[in-house]
């Protein structure tokens, strides 16, 4: 039986010209900025946004035994019929797999068992990779919507797109409820309905995703999405060589020459996030790829 999302605290604060809603979801601080005079309306929209975040987290969390994803991962190779929303996410993951030439792979999460990117110096032990690699590869999964066969021992992990999807869904639901200027920000991945009522962009402070420990980026967002891929703090050092946490699912080893972090602005949080992910998977070619794609971007090396 699937359980619903866990209710958690939230806060709503009046600010100059808008309301700021705050809550936690997906291990990130989350925000809603909404331009309204009405506390009650801001409260209602915050409820919509927070509940959608919590719902998606509960449904697609790897950590919750009752989640829809956990049910798939525990299927033991049996043929499963998945719900319509899961099907849409799997279709999109499949598209990302194709567009990345197999580098984006939602079955690669099991590689975490042999890599610990905690700033330490441990490489996988000999033989580890040979044992784990047979459990990685989207092409081993049979996906014919709505039916899924996930071979025994393999696991799906939607962490690579869940947060961006949640941002876009939350904003979409909020916009269906009220037509006003809003910005949804889940831990630095964000999307805005458009500029503020006075035509000015939203100004958002986010922790510099590209490593400066104390620095805060001030972003001006007037519509669309903005997301970051990569995490400059997750790496390991072995014999003076830095191993980043972006793994090539074909070899199980880090992508050579990967940027530490890539930030992209595009039409939605999912589009921005996936462009950033595709770029980082290009290794040394990230900048060239982003230039070709003609998106606004920032790359940290």
């Amino acid at each position: 039986m699937e359980k619903g999302p866990i209710r958690r605290p939230w806060r709503l604060e009046p600010r100059e010209g808008y309301f700021l809603g705050l809550f936690d979801a997906m291990a990130s601080p989350c925000q809603l900025l909404v331009e309204t005079e009405s506390h009650a309306q801001a409260q209602a929209l915050l409820r919509t946004v927070a509940w959608e975040a919590w719902r998606i987290e509960a449904k697609f969390s790897r950590y919750r035994k009752e989640s829809a994803l956990a049910r798939i991962n525990a299927s033991g190779g049996a043929r499963l019929k998945v719900d319509e929303e899961t099907a849409r996410l799997l279709d999109f993951s499949s598209l990302m797999h194709d567009l990345s030439g197999g580098l984006f792979d939602i079955t690669s999460g099991v590689l975490r068992r042999v890599w610990k990117f905690d700033g330490g110096d441990k490489l996988p032990k000999p033989g580890d990779m040979e044992r784990i690699l047979p459990l990685v590869g989207w092409s081993k999964v049979r996906w014919e919507a709505p039916f899924l066969v996930l071979p025994e021992g393999m696991e799906l992990d939607l962490g690579g797109l869940g947060k961006e999807y949640a941002v876009d869904r939350a904003l979409m639901l909020a916009r269906q409820e009220a037509d006003m200027a809003m910005l949804v920000n889940f831990g630095g991945d964000m999307a805005a309905s458009g500029p503020r009522a006075n035509g000015q962009p939203w100004i958002v402070g986010v922790e510099d995703p590209h490593g400066g420990a104390e620095s805060i980026w001030t972003l001006k967002v007037s519509g669309g999405g903005l997301a970051t891929s990569g995490d400059s703090r997750r790496f390991l050092l072995h014999n003076g060589k830095r191993y980043g946490h972006i793994l090539d699912p074909r070899t199980g080893w880090p992508v050579e020459g990967a940027a530490r972090a890539v930030t992209v602005a595009d039409g939605s949080a999912a589009r921005a996030g996936m462009m950033a992910t595709l770029a980082i998977l290009q290794g040394p070619g990230a900048e060239e790829f982003l230039k070709d794609q003609q998106v606004i971007h920032w790359v940290a090396r």
């Binding site: 619903g4 999302p5 209710r7 958690r8 605290p9 939230w10 806060r11 709503l12 604060e13 009046p14 600010r15 100059e16 005079e37 506390h39 409260q43 409820r47 919509t48 927070a50 509940w51 959608e52 719902r55 319509e84 929303e85 849409r88 996410l89 279709d91 999109f92 598209l95 990302m96 567009l99 990345s100 030439g101 999807y165 876009d168 869904r169 979409m172 639901l173 269906q176 037509d179 595009d266 039409g267 939605s268 999912a270 589009r271 996936m274 462009m275 595709l278 290009q282 060239e288 790829f289 070709d292 794609q293 003609q294 998106v295």
Partner: protein
Amino acid sequence: MQLKKQSVRNALAVGAAAMMGATNSASALPAWDVETGVATYVEMGGRITVMELTGVAKTHISDDKTLKLKVSLDTVTGASPNGATATSKPQTFTSPSGNTPYDVKPGDIPLDPTFRDTRVGGSATWEQDISTMVKGNVGINAGSETDHLSIGVNGGLSLDMNNRNTTLFAGVSAEWDQVAPVGGVPHRMVTTGPGVVKTVDSQSDSFTVADALVGLTQTISRRMLTQINYSHSLSNGYLSNPYKVLSAVNGATGETIDYVFENRPGDRTKQSVFWRIKYSFDQDVLDLSYRYMWDSWTITSHTAELKYYWILSSGDRLEPFVRYYTQTAADFYMPSLVYADTLPQYASADARLAKFDATTVGILYSMKMDRKSEMGIRLEYYAQKGTDHPAEAIGIQKGYDLYPETSAFVAQLLWSF
């Protein structure tokens, strides 16, 4: 390599849009917001009990058009004061239908135990944006009881000004009421003789009510909002209560000699001013309001209410409130009248037209069930106090309680989805 082409971005755009699911709301049926409630109102001392079911459904037909439907059903049972005063001898009354006599012991406030009714009501309101700054609404409402039928229409306009910091609003409504009392409309202000058997004037009568309201909502600061309004109401027609009598007492001893059915003036003009302030803390909201009402029957009333919306860390809501109400008496109110050859033209002993004050305290606890639905429970206590021993009490009346006090509990369960 495939990734070098700009089409990756386009393919992602299409794929990401498909991942979001159907957003094509134009073809979808409008979704309804529904609020339902079941409530019980119980007066202490075995008096009136009301069971009520309510439902409100609201939908956006399109971005600028809203339809709201409301239905209610309630049943009323119990005993209600009939207007006569306590006296030293047993009293016998005839029920409004004329079929069931009931006796009242010496010293007791007479209550009519045959009171029961089922009421159904409904309304529909259409709200629409006329321009970006002007909204309009029109509505109809109807209600039916065993002895009462009413139909009303209403309409209003609101105008946003001053960067939406000011909203001006105005509304009008009209209502037609048909009253067909159980057992007929009694002949008023004529002694009935023992047993209180009425002389029937007609089977039914009617009245009309017209209301107008103008007001203004003003944002004072990001945290504070205020609203003021003025309303004017005219009622015309049969405004008496067909079930209420007055005791006609001996002017020296106070003993009840006879009874008359009450009579009220055929028109009433009511005016009121209302003022509200809402203050938002970081999450909680304080809501203070005050109303002053005055009418052509010389009733003036003050209502003050304090409400606090307390948002708990779980997102649930607690709403404690306290309301105080006080009014002066109508000029034709009297607990009883002196038996004489000439009776006054207008008189009523209805406790609701007397000088009294009332305090209500209550609390609502509202709990979110999921993104859209909410469950709530409301508890209220109401206490009404009047003058038990008024200066105009005569003789033996001084020893009796002349004002039927009311205290009541309200419990309500609410579910919105």
